[in-house]
Symmetry: C2
Subunit: 356 residues, 2 copies
DNA sequence: GGGGCGAGTCGAATCGATTCGATCGAACCG
DNA sequence: CGGTTCGATCGAATCGATTCGACTCGCCCC
């Protein structure tokens, strides 16, 4: 009888398999991992024993402990999932991340800032972490990650020592877009920005709010616009969605004097603004020009073709993924910085003649 | 000097902290976990020692091994992320999952079937797993999970012993939708289905393909339609997207005789079909009725309001998440089955008079 | 024939915590 | 005042594998 192998109730362990196969645990381990030399006959015997006992291979928990690696990389997004995934640009980026990680056999742990309530996500068993679109205070978790020796990559975030950055040219790109509007002859230009803090509520863009916010991407894009239109007013959207853009657009178009152009910080917001214009009976681009950001083709823009700043979101994600891989391998990655391109569509045009 | 505490190069361990604080490892552990009685002064001393050493708390890997739990639940999707997330219905479902898991402090590991190439995802350190939209062969991974004692929940999948099901009434719901079309007077009805296998290519719906496919949701919805229109022809879309729907729609509308109504298996596909109709100069619903499935409001449908089967995707996801939680707690969850509701919009109408 | 090498295997230490049972006082109660 | 209980702490076993160094053969080559 294989008394030793089956006397305990729990799941079979490597030791049990080894015992049944008549080899030591070390050899059995080698047989599974493939590292080190093992005679074919022995390996076969071990595998057979595993089959007999219903052993599914080494326990991942034990492996993680021993190896110090779990094969998991966390991706921290500030929003609820449904919010984060509402914008296709985030999905594109995530896809890039997943692509780079998957190529190395790493998988992707979705972590959302559950506010202060939930469990601290820095205690998840992961090898590295990618911070994306982080507006909130991250000092505490970042410190925790660093103490754990977990490599950190941050996409479009403020510089932090020990955090590897993956950047997008948010500010200069927006400047180029704004320049395009100025070249067309616009001067009454308004902004529809992404959220400034975790507020989730529409509000006017004020210098105060701006000053105390840490929403890096939003701020950079505002600054880029300000370089061309220093006193542009604006509305802070509740989130990146068509509805939020519609809401913001309504607010803007009710103002006097009405802006002749809107710089929206995402394509979804831009589409919302276009909807608001249609609603108000204003022609786009005849009576209102609209500039977006991102350049992921989204549904519902037709018959327009959005003028927008096309960012290489997938590449950006992929770069972040690869950076983690490099850091995990103990190498220093190449700093990555991506450039957006102004794609001129049919939603921008010179302002109506009477207007400037 | 705190020689013992700092003599090793690596990160500080609980033992080092305990040593510095002058207590045993067991007590230090208690101080961190909060389980068991510890004098306030002692806890304070341990925490101070941790601070001094830069100790970020117990190592998650070690915790996982000891406790046999990692706090991670895997979600297996068959597609690439970008494909899976293209359809808002999946996002809604994922949001429900994340919601239910987050409430229990669990986090969500995204696993995609990387084909046969990538690493086997069943070796990730997770406590439970949710299978979603699984068409491919899953027997091997399911067996592996079961051998590991990992609870499995499957959303809209074939029954498998030991796998807890979360169901949607795909077949009867589609029957109700088809009935609606018949009631309007349609008889030349065509199908645009979700993918049948991992083929990612448009193709005609044939009985063979149908018979050998394991794409549960797709098959069930086809059967539901067949109960009303037994000989309906159809096209299998490459994926759930507007483009794929457009592609399928073009193929269908080129046929003679042209169908007077299309049953699309997702709203995105339905929208694509509407686009194809517009393209062909056919009025919707005057010359072509279109029925969708899902009911997540998507952009670009305007000015139509899609007639569709509204499924409670978030609840479905939440139920799956909760089922995992229950199974992890050793309880037997209530079987969950969800019902879709026919929402009649403006994309279905009686066929043009000369047509039936 | 002896030295050396490499393939194959094994023992034992190790990864870093958790937790059960035991121990030791101090407080409490009749 | 003795026995009981509770709070606080500690030792030691345990979770399940990986891996380094050592050991044993058998073979090759000079």
């Amino acid at each position: 009888m294989d008394a030793e192998a089956t006397e305990h109730a729990g799941r079979p362990t490597l030791a049990a398999v080894a015992a049944l196969a008549g080899v030591s645990a070390s050899t059995a381990s080698l047989a599974f991992s493939g590292a080190g030399p093992v005679a074919d006959a022995t390996r076969e015997r071990v595998l057979a024993a595993a089959r007999e006992l219903g052993y599914a291979g080494p326990d991942p928990f034990a492996q993680s402990l021993r190896r110090g690696r779990s094969g998991i990389v966390g991706v921290v997004m500030e929003d609820r999932l449904s919010d984060a995934f509402r914008d296709p640009i985030n999905i594109a980026m995530l896809d890039g991340i997943a692509d780079a990680l998957g190529a190395e056999g790493l998988s992707l742990l979705l972590l959302t800032e559950t506010g202060e309530s939930g469990t601290d996500y820095s205690l998840a068993p992961m090898d590295g972490v990618i911070l994306v679109g982080c507006s909130r205070e991250l000092d505490a978790p970042v410190t925790a990650f660093q103490q754990r020796g977990i490599p950190i990559v941050a996409i479009e975030a403020e510089r932090m020592p020990g955090v590897f950055p993956v950047d997008l040219d948010n500010r200069p790109a927006t400047t180029r877009g704004a320049q395009h509007l100025r070249d067309l002859g616009h001067s009454r230009v308004a902004l529809v920005t992404l959220p400034l803090e975790g507020s989730r509520e529409r509000g006017d863009l004020s210098l105060e709010r701006e000053a105390e916010s840490r929403a890096h991407t939003t701020i950079e894009r505002i600054r880029g616009a300000r370089e061309v239109f220093p006193w542009a007013a604006g509305v802070v959207a509740a989130e990146s969605s068509v509805d939020a853009g519609l809401d913001a657009g309504r607010a803007l178009l009710a103002r006097h004097p009405r802006p002749t152009a809107v710089i929206a910080q995402s394509d979804l917001l831009a589409l919302g603004v276009i909807r608001a214009a249609e609603e108000a009976g204003l022609a786009v681009p005849g009576e209102l020009s609209v500039l977006g950001f991102d350049g992921a083709r989204i549904e519902g823009v037709a018959p327009h073709e959005l003028t927008t700043l096309v960012q290489p979101a997938v590449d950006k994600g992929r770069a972040a993924g690869r950076a983690v891989v490099e850091l995990l391998a103990g190498r220093q990655p190449e700093p990555a910085s991506f450039t957006s391109e102004l794609r001129i569509g049919t939603t921008t045009a010179p302002p109506a003649s009477g207007e400037h």
